[in-house]
């Protein structure tokens, strides 16, 4: 069995795709692309797809990951192209590597987010960020299935900065002020989402964007404590492929680097 790891995006208006919606679309794309999928056993067999840590509905992403299991080997790049053609534009399959290491999900320990705040001046944003950074804890509330939950949104945040305003979405009108925040947040339980950080900014510094923030995940991967960066989670597989171009089988690669 060959396992292939894919990076995909949620761009533009398709960022409103929920994870369930994505799953259905992806499974149909697997059929359209005639991918020789491995199926789970049981009464209603399902194609073997493992999703990791999906971005919330409404947020864009450049860095979503999943892994599929195939019954026959395929060239990852060719497969990527076929799948990408079979998905709606915006849900783009942008990277594919053969899995040569274990634990992709374990390597997703932090995310880099961009928060675009239309109608907020960069100065106001910078001031709010400073207050947030200076705080020890920032209590926020989130509505969950089990009612309102209160938790700290500060400790999971490893970096929050007001980036210089160059627009990542050039199609937007730019005649109004716009602040762009760059956020690096650890994946903890309960999860701290960009929304929660925005709630935190409102709580500590009254930062209230007039329109909903446009939020995009730029990267996710292993958080490197020394450099404070988020590393590419597919790099170990790529490196393994470079040193051992023809593996006996992907499952043999049991040693996890990093």
């Amino acid at each position: 069995m060959q396992r292939i790891r894919l990076r995909y995006t949620k761009r533009g208006r398709l960022r409103f795709t929920s994870h369930r919606d994505f799953q259905r679309a992806f499974e149909r794309a697997l059929r359209r692309a005639e991918v020789p999928m491995a199926y789970s056993a049981g009464f209603t067999p399902h194609p073997k797809v493992s999703y990791a840590n999906a971005a919330p509905t409404g947020t864009g992403s450049e860095a979503e990951y999943l892994e599929i299991a195939l019954t026959e080997p395929r060239d990852p790049e060719r497969l990527r192209g076929l799948l990408d053609e079979s998905m709606p534009a915006g849900l783009d399959i942008v990277e594919a590597v053969e899995a040569r290491t274990s634990g992709l999900a374990d390597r997703l320990t932090a995310s880099v987010w961009e928060l675009r705040l239309d109608g907020v001046s960069p100065e106001d944003a910078r001031r709010a960020v400073d207050v947030f950074e200076a705080a020890g804890t920032v209590e926020v509330q989130r509505r969950t299935k089990n009612g309102i939950r209160t938790f700290d949104a500060r400790s999971a945040v490893v970096a929050l900065e007001s980036a210089d305003a160059h627009s990542s979405q050039p199609d937007r009108p730019t005649d109004q002020p716009c602040a762009i925040l760059r956020l690096v947040v650890r994946h903890v339980t309960p999860a701290v989402r960009p929304d929660d950080v925005l709630s935190g900014l409102r709580a500590v510094a009254d930062l209230a964007p007039p329109v909903p923030a446009a939020v995009t995940r730029l990267a996710q991967g292993l958080f490197d404590e020394e450099t404070g960066t988020v590393t590419d989670p597919l790099a170990p597989d790529r490196e393994a492929a470079a040193t051992e171009p023809h593996p006996a089988g992907a499952t043999a690669a049991a040693t996890a680097p990093a």
Binding site: Q2, R13, L14, F16, T17, S18, R20, D21, F22, R24, A25, E27, R28, A29, L30, R31, R32, P36, Y39, F43, T44, P45, T57, G58, E72, P73, R74, D75, E77, R78, S86, M87, P88, A89, G90, R172, P173, V211, P212, H246
Partner: protein, 654 residues
């Protein structure tokens, strides 16, 4: 109409989407959707299914017209659906107009705003959409800045209740009709729109295939009945004809079915295997108004399924029609498809199967590649007598034989559909449903040797429909319907031996009365619809939104000034002489034939299916110059490729 420039409202809409449920339904971008440049087209259609996206997107009618229109050079079609109340409130607050999901252009900027009504319960949603679009609710208030509002779909066979709100209606098959309408609009625009809207509507009306309510006056008798419906200008036909597409193989649509990202009610590759039905069930409006029967050939079906699956990636194929097992080559179709897709885990479904057309070979083909889910049959009536009245010629022995086969072959669950409130029905006719269900369970236990057998009885109130033999029939009141259903429930629940194996699902009689009011209503009902809409009525097909009390209150406010009331429209029996509100809309059925069939119903006389017996002179074929088109062709579906023949592409880069 027609703004030569139409800006996308997506930037404004986008800001609202984080605040609404399931925002994905409003963003478009579905696989196989089409966005054509606005400037490259001179005739632009906005097509609406006036219900939520999850119901509207899979609708075959809209999907077919969307594709047929978009295939034309210089023509574009985009789709719009009803927005849920959460988004409606935000759109009103932020002044975002009704938009198409394809390119988010305002509906008001299109040349035609076409609505497909499968049911009358979408009328209030049409008013919501018009108002959100900034289009005047009433046709008489519209100007050249507004689109032509056009109704289609089965409910449009009696468009009188919405006559004030639509500019025109097209009845029957839409494929060719939309192209003809497009041609007329194009010519009128090229000439510089001479004579304004009225001239365009006149050009449409004089074809005889487009009904423009504004060109007809309705005169009433002192007792409230209609005296006559008469054209108010020359050149307009007295009666408007339905459209009939004759060769389905020439119209293999949808070729590229839309694949939604949002979850919808049907997620499958649907192929219409034939259109029309001549079984002659007297309650069935669809069967009456879609005559004659026209089959798609087995090879045409095979090709559509093949292309459709490749284009979509769906894992289920639905073979649609009004009675799918009646296709003259259904066995070969089912076997051929099951053979082809055996390895691909593609399931097949036949959504409408008659008890007497079902057989176990067919059942096995249908379940070969998929799950063995429940089987559903619709005897419709509980007693032999009432089944003769409705001309549903299925005997109880047929049913027992069929369920015995099913239970004997591994099925554990059978669903049975019935109606309550059929003409001449008594309590006894309905109570016999319980006897039928117990016989089904007893037989099931006998042949399967197991007590783990279930039968679900599902029953709803009968609503008399226009263009059927029951168009003259009195509808049973909501109270009587509920009382009769209560007796049936008590009888089933009280059965110690079998009751626990029988599920009982029913719909109360109230929604049926509103549906009945709208189905057989005339132009005076428009005031009720408008009052309900203004009082907040939306999504009447949804239990959680529907309000019977609101409809009744609004009817009590508006109808007395006309000297009529809800009972007058629903529970009143009509006589032979009465001019019915839809008499000037020609479904091809001869009114005298319908009346004879109504008399036959009262005499419990059955009528055969004209596919296999001589013509009964229902009128359709001579009137419409059409004929029955059925197989068999004798052809078979061949495998698409040699199984495991081609070497798999090699897995690694070189």
């Amino acid at each position: 109409m027609p703004a030569e420039v139409a800006e996308s409202v997506f930037p404004q809409l986008e800001a609202l989407l984080p605040h609404v449920q399931k925002p994905i339904q409003y963003v478009g971008g579905e696989l196989n959707s089409t966005v054509k440049p606005w400037d490259s087209c001179d005739v632009r259609w906005a097509l609406m299914y006036p219900d939520a996206y999850e119901v509207g997107l899979p609708n075959q009618g809209v999907m077919i017209l969307y594709e047929v229109l978009n295939e034309q050079d210089g023509v574009l079609a985009e789709r719009t659906y009803s927005v849920w109340p959460d988004l409606e409130a935000l759109m009103r607050e932020h002044r975002v107009p009704q938009f198409t999901v394809d390119s988010h252009r305002p509906v008001k900027n299109f040349d035609v705003f076409g609505l497909s009504f499968s049911t009358e319960l979408g009328y209030t949603n049409m008013l919501t959409a018009l108002d959100l679009a900034g289009i005047p609710l009433e046709a008489k208030d519209r100007t050249l800045d507004d689109p032509i509002v056009m109704a289609g779909g089965h409910a449009a066979f009696n468009p009188e209740p919405i006559a004030d709100f639509i500019d025109c209606a097209v009845i029957g098959d839409g494929e060719q009709a939309v192209l003809e309408v497009t041609r007329i609009i194009r010519a009128w625009k090229e000439e510089g729109r001479p004579g304004g809207r009225e001239e365009l509507l006149f050009r449409l009306a004089r074809t005889g295939g487009v009904y423009v309510p504004g060109f007809y006056d309705v005169e009433y008798l002192p007792d409230g009945r209609i005296a006559r419906v008469v054209p108010n200008r020359s050149g307009v036909p007295w009666r408007v004809s339905k459209h009939t597409v004759m060769d389905l193989d020439e119209w293999p649509y949808p070729k590229q079915p839309l694949v939604p990202l949002a979850e919808t009610v049907h997620e499958r590759m649907s192929v219409e295997i034939f259109r029309g039905c001549t079984r002659g069930c007297r309650f069935c409006q669809a069967g009456m108004i879609t005559r004659p029967v026209r089959e798609r050939s087995i090879t045409g079906i095979g090709e559509m399924v093949d292309k459709g699956l490749k284009a979509t990636g769906f894992e289920e194929v639905g073979l649609l029609s009004l009675s799918s097992a009646d296709h003259s080559e259904i066995g070969d179709v089912a076997k051929g498809l099951a053979d082809r897709y055996e390895e691909d885990k593609i399931g097949l479904s036949l959504p409408s199967t008659r008890v007497d057309a079902f057989n176990i070979d067919l059942a096995n083909e249908l379940t070969r590649n998929g799950r063995r889910s429940g089987l559903t049959f619709a005897p419709e009536g509980g007693s032999e007598r009432i089944r003769k009245v409705i001309n549903k010629m299925v005997s109880e022995d047929d049913l027992i034989r069929t369920v015995a086969t099913a239970y004997g072959n591994g099925w554990r669950q059978v669903k049975l559909y019935f109606m309550c409130g059929l003409p001449t029905e008594t309590d006894d006719d309905v109570l016999q449903i319980a006897d039928m269900a117990t016989r089904v369970i007893a037989k099931g236990r006998e042949v399967s040797g197991s007590n783990d057998i279930r039968c679900t009885v599902s029953i709803g109130g009968f609503v008399p429909k226009p263009h059927t033999p029951f168009q003259w029939a009195p509808q049973l009141s909501a109270e009587e319907t509920d009382e009769r259903l209560g007796k049936l429930r008590d009888k089933i629940r009280g059965d110690k031996k079998y009751g626990r194996s029988i599920g009982f699902r029913y719909h109360d009689g109230k929604p049926g009365i509103v549906e009945g009011l709208l189905s057989r209503g005339d132009r005076r009902i428009g005031a009720v619809i408008r009052a309900v809409y203004e009082d907040g009525g939306r999504f009447d097909g949804w239990r959680e939104h529907f309000s019977y009390d609101r409809w009744m209150t609004c009817a009590e406010k508006t109808l007395p000034s006309f000297g009529v009331d809800v009972d007058w429209y629903t529970t009143r029996e009509r006589t032979y002489e009465e001019v019915l509100p839809w008499d000037h809309l020609d479904s091809g059925l001869d009114k005298d034939w319908l009346w004879e069939d109504w008399q036959d119903a009262l005499d419990e006389t059955e009528v055969e299916d004209c596919r296999w017996t001589p013509c009964f002179d229902c009128g359709v074929c001579p009137q419409m110059d059409t004929s029955i088109q059925i197989g068999p062709t004798g052809k078979k579906l061949l495998p698409l490729t040699v199984k495991n023949g081609a070497p798999a592409p090699s897995g690694h880069v070189h």
